[in-house]
């Protein structure tokens, strides 16, 4: 094995000298020195020269990147599910039939206030809507107060309306 001084004199970056590389495997201090000059020398010292892929590192990188692009393209193609127009049309028709059917059912069996009504109600007798009118429609006096006494009984019970009029005689 060569000495440390001889190593430092003979050492060059990217050296393939077996004596220099042999010293590197034995001397840690010279390995540190060599690593500062050429970091790759550590791998070469460990036999790293054999780890370089065939065709060189650049060819290896190009090959890896090509593989990456191929895989990426494959995943893109796989993600795009092709649906035929006939299937799309069938799905749309099914949805339309379902929605329309539900609307027709709703229209026929739950008619709204303005919608069509069951036939039975068309022939039904007219509903009489009663309105309430004031008992005293008009009263001729400018000094009168008219009070309709609320009825406690049924609608057909006796109704009382009092007319308080200063113009009326006192001896009624």
């Amino acid at each position: 094995m060569i000495s440390c001084d001889a190593f430092r004199v003979r050492f060059e970056g990217s050296t393939e000298d077996p004596a220099v590389l042999g010293h590197l495997r034995e001397c840690d201090r010279c390995l540190d020195f060599a690593a500062q000059t050429d970091p790759d020398v550590m791998f070469r010292a460990l036999g790293g020269g054999e780890m370089i892929p065939p065709g060189g590192v650049e060819a290896f990188v190009v090959d890896v990147m090509q593989q990456v692009r191929v895989r990426s393209a494959e995943s893109t193609v796989t993600a795009r599910h092709e649906v035929s127009w006939t299937r799309r049309l069938a799905i749309a028709a099914t949805l339309a039939v379902g929605i329309t059917g539900a609307m027709v059912y709703n229209q026929l069996w739950n008619p709204g206030p303005t919608g069509s009504q069951p036939v039975a109600s068309i022939t039904a007798s007219p509903v009489r809507t009663f309105t309430t009118k004031p008992i005293v429609e008009t009263y001729e006096s400018d000094r009168a107060t008219i009070v309709e006494v609320p009825s406690e009984g049924a609608a057909d019970d006796v109704k009382i309306v009092m007319i308080f009029d200063e113009n009326l005689p006192a001896d009624l």
């Binding site: 069938a90 028709a93 027709v104 008992i135 001729e140 009092m162 308080f164």
Partner: protein, 221 residues
Amino acid sequence: MKRILTLMMALLFVSATSFAQTQNVGKTLTAKTFVFKHKQADKAANVIKSILSAEGSMSIQPTANSLVVTDLPENLKKIAAAIATFDAPAQPLQLSIRLVSASRGTEAKVDSALRDVASKLALLRYNVLEHVGTAQATGKEGEPGQVSIAGYRADFKFGEYDPASDSVQLADFKLFRQEGDQLAPMLKTTLNLKLGQTVIVGATKQPESPRALMIVVTAQR
């Protein structure tokens, strides 16, 4: 696949067509003209406006005494029935009028002819009820009437029957009191009387007044 697609399209067409037909039937409006023989068209408008649907409308033609109503077919049937009831010939009416002198006394005293209204008047603290007199009047819608009751006279006009409120109007009801050989006017009013219902119209100067004149009226067909 083609068969399924064809079936789906056929179902879609049938469903859409039936739905469209249902919608159109529900919204179809029909116009009908009603010509009145016995009543005024403008008064009929009040009768049918509560029956008219949200889509319905009407227009009065006074010169022809008619009413053009546009509404849903089923609603027009109800309107036609209501108009037929309304446009009836003048109905005979019967009016019963009782005059009661009411006062507040220390002891209750009620004429036997007034027992049916005594409990009501007791609510107003009138416990002394004197029967002045009773009169009956008959007539038809639109006709005038007159009754005399023990020193009083009432002039009035039978108004039209209103089916919506089941009432008849007693228009221009004027009450006079005999004072010597003169008739002194006491009050003038127009009353809405529900058929068969007894109405008590009390007249006095003030709520605290010790005396009041009660006019007990009932209208019937």
